[in-house]
């Protein structure tokens, strides 16, 4: 029997890795990927809690998170494409000016 706490610890580590990625990396694509890691960590928590409670609500919230992740990826990547066209770079430091 695996205790609920183990799933939560895995999820916490994944979330921390995602956060670290957002803070540390200077590549828009990698930052978006890190956000996906964070969303997945949250999903794992939801499913684990739902299972521990013995109902399916955790799984359902996971579907909503997936929908949001898909929408976020679509819009985020569209923004990345737009920015790349302007600056030929994926480094967020290249987009510090408000107007060009």
């Amino acid at each position: 029997m695996i205790p609920l706490g183990h799933y939560l610890i895995v999820s916490a580590i994944l979330f921390a890795i995602g956060t670290a990625g957002v803070f540390l990396r200077k590549n828009l694509i990698t930052i978006l990927l890190s956000i996906e890691i964070m969303l997945n960590a949250v999903n794992l928590t939801f499913v684990a809690f739902g299972r521990a409670q013995g109902n399916v609500d955790g799984q359902i919230i996971t579907f909503f998170v997936m929908t949001v992740a898909a929408a976020e990826a679509a819009v985020g990547l569209a923004i990345v494409i737009g920015l790349f066209r302007h600056r030929e770079s994926l480094n967020p430091d290249a987009f510090t000016s408000l107007k060009w």
Partner: protein, 177 residues
């Protein structure tokens, strides 16, 4: 105990792959490693009696969202080196802001672990309660989704529509001007 073994195996894969995702210079490798991590997570979902979520995880995340990422990386043919030309240091070893980031991420881990230590029911077995057949069946998931959560479900359709329009507007070339 095979259950614990599988749990350790797949959570290990998920964590190591995720850690490597943020340690890669090449976004292509990051994407492939993230897919590995998603696969391992999907195995964890199966252990949690959620086969439908596990499959949705692979279909939606690995099969659609990551293909989108891959498509963009290929389309931009993005330079794999982030940072300036003179900066050849590994992305995670750059001084300055990185140290702050590492500090904050470390703090977050400490905080989360601390919170977990204080939780009272963290040591109860995760699959102790509930009817496994009901939880893992797609039928019961669908029933709850389309009754209790029907408003949220309809709202996500609008969210997707907005995202679709937004993506098209943002990514389309400005041909008018």
């Amino acid at each position: 105990m095979p259950e614990t073994l599988l749990f350790s195996l797949f959570s290990g894969i998920a964590i190591v792959a995720s850690a490597l995702v943020i340690g890669q210079r090449n976004p292509m490798y990051s994407i492939m490693l993230l897919i590995t991590s998603f696969g391992a997570l999907s195995a964890l979902y199966i252990q949690l009696d959620a086969p439908f979520v596990a499959m949705a995880q692979i279909i939606v995340y690995a099969g659609a969202i990551m293909v989108l990422f891959l498509f963009v990386v290929m389309l931009l043919n993005a330079p794999q080196e982030d940072g300036a030309e003179w900066d050849r240091a590994h992305p995670l070893r750059r001084p300055g802001v990185s140290r702050l980031g590492a500090l904050l991420a470390g703090l977050l881990i400490v905080q989360l672990v601390w919170a977990l230590m204080r939780a009272t029911d963290a040591s109860t077995a995760v699959n102790a309660s509930g009817d496994v057949a009901a939880i893992s069946s797609v039928r019961s998931v669908g029933r709850v989704l389309f009754t209790n959560y029907v408003f949220a479900f309809e709202a996500t359709s609008i969210l997707i529509l907005v995202a679709m329009v937004g993506a098209v507007v943002l990514a389309a070339r400005e041909s008018g001007r």
